[in-house]
Symmetry: none
DNA sequence: AGCGCCTGTTAAAAAAGGTTAAAAGCCGAT
DNA sequence: ATCGGCTTTTAACCTTTTTTAACAGGCGCT
């Protein structure tokens, strides 16, 4: 999970940012000032801090210093209206990872967040790629599927498709979307190829009665896991 | 050792930057264009790249993409005269760590370099080209691979390929990118040659069950290290 | 029911990669 | 300059993975 501490005193901007980040798969926690921000920081674990500088009660620099004093590594990005060079320098002295000046585009913010996170959490990719489905354990990174009887090695395409199904467990995985994701484009032959792979995956899962790959005609496929 | 790849086509600015960085304890290597930059990148190990964007022969973005294709982690900071937002966004998409607009103060540049390196360096024990993978210790500079049972000497090509795999540990190393980096170009015979070397490396790693070189069909190879 | 379109299944073709060994290239020692 | 040993490339043959093909059903619609 990508929990982000968002401290911004402008309620409008704060709300917009929080919603946008949520939309993009993050879990933003919004605070209205530095004091609130600090107590929130203490109460939970975050992966990244997004701090406004000018705020009532406690400014962003002060908060950042307090956070830095206990966590030398957590990424901090400052949001600022000012373009004062001294401010920028001050921020980097505290140990900012980036600095973004208002007004900024949402897209740019997202890119900066991702740039910072990518560097920071290389291990994260591993965690999200092990799926427990039914009695099976699917490790995407290793391209393996473990069951009680043993471990089988999946091919790259099999693993890619199974991952998409797992990520959409109990939801419909759209054919066209899957094709574009794995094969690059939705063409007739790629579609037939995917059907072949669906058959292979069904074969692997058929020993587990809890699991089933349903066809949603004209829509896609759905990996069902039931108790 | 903080070796910095500095690619800047303006000889005056390049010289000034190089001298300043040297003064601050870094070891800058100055190149005048992107092509020179790439061949320099191939020939040595750097901790950080400082790239101008507009350059003759090969621009900074192109160079950055080539570097990123084989090293997902090395910090890249762009130097630019333009303040175009699209450029900024393009840079972050490639995976820039920071962006600094000319004219900038030396102090600000230094702060940004340090901000980026601070986050980066603790995990980067491989900066001296010694990688601990599984139960093995791979020393690129000495071209040796130590295990409990003894030390073997690697050939130059073996070491180059293993280093790329280590730098991309648990990530896919793109075939074509690796070929361009080590063999100079992606041709049929070079590709077959690389396959031969992959086989050799697999032989060296096969005693360590924590390590595995996976084939990502049509993509490349992935060195997996699991607990 | 009948038709068109989508999906299932299986097998063969094609592409990519694995393995091994011989040929070629490189480099220092004589 | 030539030899011998090591590294790298080329080659031949093999295996695995992916795509294509052909045919068989199934679904929804009229």
């Amino acid at each position: 999970m990508n929990r982000i501490l968002l401290v911004e005193d402008d309620p409008n901007l704060g709300q917009v940012l929080a919603e946008y980040l949520q939309l993009k798969g993050f879990e933003p926690v919004l605070c209205g000032d530095g004091e609130e921000g600090l107590s929130m920081y203490k109460s939970r674990t975050f992966e990244l801090c997004l701090l406004d500088i000018m705020m009532p009660k406690k400014d962003g620099f002060t908060l950042a210093r307090e956070i830095r004093s206990v966590d030398k590594k957590i990424p901090i990005i400052f949001l600022t209206a000012k373009t004062l060079k001294e401010d920028t320098i001050e921020g980097f002295k505290i140990g900012a990872d980036d600095y973004i000046t208002k007004p900024f585009s949402m897209e740019e913010l997202l890119l900066r967040i991702n740039a910072v996170l990518r560097r920071y959490s290389p291990a994260r990719s591993d965690k999200d790629n092990v799926f427990k489905i039914g009695k099976l354990i699917f490790d995407f990174n290793n391209q393996t599927l473990k069951s009680e009887t043993g471990e089988i090695r999946l091919t790259t395409k099999e693993a890619n498709l199974l991952r998409l199904l797992c990520q959409n467990k109990n939801l419909t995985l759209n054919r066209s979307a899957a094709l574009k994701m794995i094969w690059g484009d939705d063409s007739y032959f790629n579609a037939r190829s995917m059907d072949v792979y669906i058959a292979k995956l069904r074969k692997y899962l058929k020993n587990d009665d809890h699991l089933n790959i349903l066809t949603i005609h004209g829509e896609g496929f759905k990996l069902i896991e039931r108790a």
